[in-house]
């Protein structure tokens, strides 16, 4: 136990007892206590912290392994679960590179000349995200898809000077709840638009919006896996002078589907986890944010820009910082400071690993295998698609048994089943959201189909 006068060697602390004594002498202090005399005695903690005892490395790892093994992770059960986080193949090369200590033990690149690695990687990430989404500019990342979507709505309010946001009910509920929290005290009202057969109906968008609408927020593929009619939604929003904010929770879909930039989206927000980032029970992930060139000065978050040094060599810096909190304080576009740079780096490495043709091929794999699974599952008596709209790698089925019951049965077959949608949509009590990525083999899909057939018949 650490008493005031004792000093216990620890592997993370280089200071020895002898050095401690010498260093105290050098500062003119007789004891460590003398360093803390500015702290009022009344608020000093005069007892050791009641924490579990220190563990040596082997015990520590054993304890953590024991905790980890009590989780039904995606290497133990075959994962057909999606709903905002996706089990894709993460090539080894991604985290061998992103996991280099020169990247992960760095701070934010405040001294550009010694942080060209981080900054250039950020610039390359921004470039790739623009290519992926079809937008003009992207920032260097946000916290996650939900908070990025919320910030996009705030940005739309600032751009349009209107104060209502219309959000589709087919947007992921975590995103909608985050949006509600973010705008509650900013004088922005939210209206939720019911979905029609699993998609957002452009005609009902036209009916719902008006001269006070800053943005229409949709997601595609949406929470039910359905692809939205983006061009019609963009036209509906624009005709009323509103912006279209598109949330993308599955960016791999953009390898196959026309990107929001091509349909006229004004802001694309979303989740970058599927791009080379681990599931990790929900984080760290990365928020994607991209927009039109004309809107860049209202954009939140860090931006990396190219410039030159005194010899005319290309180099990179954080730029347009007058938007940000450390300069503008309460007038900043957002309070965001730290973002998810390492996860953005992983996303960039992942996208570069796939490249132009690989992105398309992996997206096709998702779509083809999901289509196969959907077709076979829907052929099981009593199982039917919930919605008719086309999908990418996720789809909603209606089941003749409660989804939770089926999921429990699937576990006996080593399967982590789909999402029971009643968790989020109480009226969809028999709806089951299934995700099939490129990581699922045909053999695994066939096992799923057989297990579901048995499970719903039982």
């Amino acid at each position: 136990m650490a008493q005031a006068g004792d000093w216990h060697p620890h592997r993370y602390l280089p200071m020895t007892a002898a050095e401690r004594a010498e260093m105290l002498r050098a500062t003119g202090r007789a004891s460590v206590e003398e360093l803390f005399t500015d702290i009022p005695e009344a608020v000093r903690l005069r007892r050791p912290l009641a924490l579990p005892p220190a563990l040596a490395e082997p015990e520590l790892l054993a304890h953590l392994r024991e905790l980890a093994e009590r989780n039904a992770h995606a290497d133990r059960l075959v994962c057909f679960l999606g709903g905002g986080a996706y089990d894709h193949v993460v090539p080894s090369v991604v985290w061998h590179l992103a996991g280099r200590a020169e990247f992960y033990t760095a701070y934010t690149p405040y001294q550009a000349e010694v942080m060209q690695g981080e900054l250039q990687a950020g610039y390359e990430y921004q470039s790739m995200l623009c290519a992926l989404t079809g937008m003009d500019v992207a920032n260097a990342s946000m916290y996650d898809g939900a908070s990025a979507t919320a910030e996009a709505a705030v940005m739309a309010r600032d751009l349009t000077r209107r104060d209502e946001v219309v959000v589709s009910a087919a947007v992921h509920p975590h995103y909608r709840r985050t949006l509600e929290t973010y705008v509650r005290h900013l004088g922005i009202g939210i209206r939720t638009l019911a979905h029609t057969g699993g998609v957002t109906d452009p005609a009902s968008v036209r009916d719902a919006i008006g001269a006070g609408t800053a943005a229409v927020v949709v997601q595609s593929p949406n929470v039910f896996g359905c692809l939205e009619d983006g061009a019609a939604l963009a036209a509906a929003a624009h005709d009323a002078g509103a912006l279209l904010v598109v949330a993308v929770t599955e960016p791999l879909s953009l390898g196959l589907i026309e990107p929001p930039g091509a349909w006229g989206a004004d802001i694309v927000a979303g989740e970058g986890q599927p791009l080379g980032n681990h599931l990790s029970f929900g984080g760290p992930y990365l928020g994607m944010l991209a927009t039109r060139e004309a809107f860049v000065r209202r954009m939140p978050g860090r931006l990396v820009g190219a410039t030159t040094d005194r010899e005319g060599r290309r180099g990179f810096v954080l730029t347009l910082q007058t938007r940000e909190q450390h300069i503008r304080r309460e007038k900043a576009t957002s309070n965001i400071c730290t973002n998810e740079a390492l996860n953005a780096l992983a996303a960039a490495i992942y996208l570069a690993a796939l490249g132009k043709s690989g992105l398309r091929r992996v997206a096709e794999l998702n779509a083809r295998r999901a289509h196969y699974a959907r077709t076979r599952l829907a052929a099981i008596p009593g199982v039917r698609p919930a919605f008719d709209a086309p999908v990418f790698n996720e789809f909603t089925l209606r089941l003749p048994v409660p989804p939770d019951t089926l999921n429990a049965r699937l576990r006996d077959h080593g399967i982590l089943g789909g999402l029971a949608l009643h968790r989020w949509y109480p009226e969809l009590e028999d709806a089951w959201l299934v995700c099939v990525t490129e990581a699922r083999t045909r053999a695994q899909i066939d096992v799923l189909v057989d297990a579901v057939a048995a499970g719903v018949a039982a």
Binding site: V43, L55, L67, N71, A85, P109, V114, H174, H185, S280
Partner: protein, 493 residues
């Protein structure tokens, strides 16, 4: 002018037809893609991504990493950022498949180990902070600030109190006023006094029934403990406001004093500072918020709770402010923070003792060479001023910072806090050895000497880095924020 070639972009390595991954065949019956995703929806132009082999990719990013400064490379005295060593075993822990491969929508009964870890971490954070409950959703310090202020607002609203103002000292991080603005509060700035504490007389003048909260960093951004924190809390509580602690400087006081005992009601913890989780070159961080019991009903849903011998995600929180992000926060970061705390246990107090001793030791070595605007016993960091060097030799703090790069160090934080002219903010952290501190002090003293003997050398710095000083003005004036394929580039930039 003859110059070294630009370091290539990944796009400039691209050769059509190359790929760095192996993809399987679909292995399912061939169905036209148009039929699968619907007519007219197929992407017409492929995304302009680079096409490289696996080795191209490895070399590019390895070389980029070599153009980065990092804790594992050298000393990083970046004040306010607590750049301490990031233990390797924590990385191993976060990569265990049971954590890294755990889907966030996994039913809680199948994620008991993960929930237990969060539940245990919450208990430890409460013990260290003197608070009663924690939310794990906020993903960085600023996110925590926003969440904490929303909790305060919800608490006050619930009591029928419409309070509109948040007080922030002039030494505060820029995120404090920005976070207050995001919660719809008006920001009132209060000056610091001659000893570097918040000015109590000025505080009393603005403290009234309209004040929702005071946001304080303690130790503050001058690296000084707020000597009158108890009285400050009494002033704020006396008018019915709440005390918010910006936990950026928590590393100074672990096991020494607890914010909850100082009168704070809400705080965020920067686990990427205090609890050693890597900063990742700008994130991911995590900013869990700890609160006193009275604010617990308002925490974001879900919270982690123990029911009998099971752990659950409690969604049923009628007074909750809602969510501030999807899922369960930056879980992988919490695995690391948990591993760190278990590696220390009650010895955690030594972290702060060493951090504070290191800072005072370094300050003692540098005191004669720079102005020290608030010369008190510092906590884990201290702030020098480069005004002497500016007045006498025309060398700015920015130049001194850049010259330190030539000596192989990362620069301290500069021009912050805003109340110190030509500020140089130095935080050594507890994981640095005396020998490292001695060598750094020698280098900084040498730079101070160069300001006198060869100011142009300092003003022209850095000289030995991969690029020399970069033109930030041009970058902002004509923003170039992305690479474009040649065909898209209109006029030469």
């Amino acid at each position: 002018m003859k110059r070294r070639a630009d370091f290539p972009l990944i796009f400039e390595h691209s050769v059509p037809g190359r790929i760095a991954v192996a993809l399987p065949e679909p292995d399912v019956p061939e169905v036209p893609l148009e039929e699968i995703v619907g007519g007219g929806r197929l992407r017409r132009e492929p995304a302009e991504l680079p096409e490289v082999s696996e080795l191209d990719l490895v070399r590019h990013y390895t070389r980029l990493s070599q153009r980065n400064y990092a804790i594992d490379v050298g000393f990083y005295p970046l004040g306010s950022c607590t750049m301490k060593y990031n233990p390797k075993v924590n990385e191993d822990a976060a990569r265990l498949p049971g954590f890294a491969r755990l889907h966030p929508n996994t039913p809680p009964e199948l994620a008991q180990g993960a929930l237990e870890l969060l539940w245990r971490l919450e208990a430890m954070l409460c013990e260290i902070s003197g608070m009663d409950a924690v939310t794990f959703q906020p993903s960085a310090g600023a996110h925590g600030e926003m969440t904490g202020l929303m909790l305060i607002r919800a608490y006050l609203d619930d009591r029928g109190e419409r309070r509109t103002r948040v007080i922030v000292p002039d030494s505060a991080h820029g995120t404090n006023p920005a976070s207050a603005a995001m919660c719809g509060f008006e920001v009132v700035t209060v000056p610091s006094d001659a000893r570097g504490n918040i000015d109590r007389a000025a505080l009393r003048r603005v403290a009234d029934g309209s004040v929702a909260a005071l946001m304080l960093t303690n130790p503050n951004t001058l690296g000084l403990f707020e000597e009158h924190v108890v009285e400050v809390a009494e002033i704020i509580h006396g008018v019915g406001g709440l005390m918010y602690l910006d936990g950026a400087n928590f590393n100074a006081v672990l096991g020494i004093t607890r914010p909850g005992d100082q009168g704070f009601d809400v705080m965020h913890v920067n686990v990427h500072k205090t609890f050693s989780t890597p900063h990742g070159g700008g994130g991911p961080g995590a900013g869990p918020v700890a609160v006193k019991r009275a604010l617990e009903p308002y925490l974001p849903a879900p919270t982690v709770e123990r029911v009998g011998d099971r752990f659950v995600l409690q969604e049923d929180r009628p007074k909750s402010i809602g969510r501030v992000r999807a899922f369960n926060g930056n879980f992988g970061i919490f695995v690391r923070a948990y591993a760190y705390l278990r590696a220390y246990g009650p010895l955690l107090r030594q972290v702060s003792e060493a951090a504070v001793l290191n800072a005072n030791y370094l300050l003692a070595k540098l005191r004669a060479h720079f102005d020290v605007p608030y010369d008190r016993t510092c906590m884990h960091e201290f702030v020098l001023s480069g005004r002497r060097q500016k007045q006498e030799h025309g060398v700015r703090t920015l130049d001194i910072a850049k010259r330190l790069l030539d000596y192989g160090y990362h620069a301290p934080t500069i021009y912050f806090p805003l109340i110190v002219d030509e500020a140089i903010m130095i935080e050594p952290a507890e994981t640095e050895s005396r020998q490292t501190l001695d060598a750094f002090a020698e280098a900084l003293i040498q730079v101070a000497e160069e300001c006198r003997t060869d100011p142009d050398l300092v003003r022209g710095a850095p000289h030995d880095t991969v690029v020399t000083r970069l033109d930030e003005v041009a970058a902002a004036r004509k923003p170039n924020l992305r690479w474009r394929p040649k065909a898209e580039v209109g006029s030469p930039a």
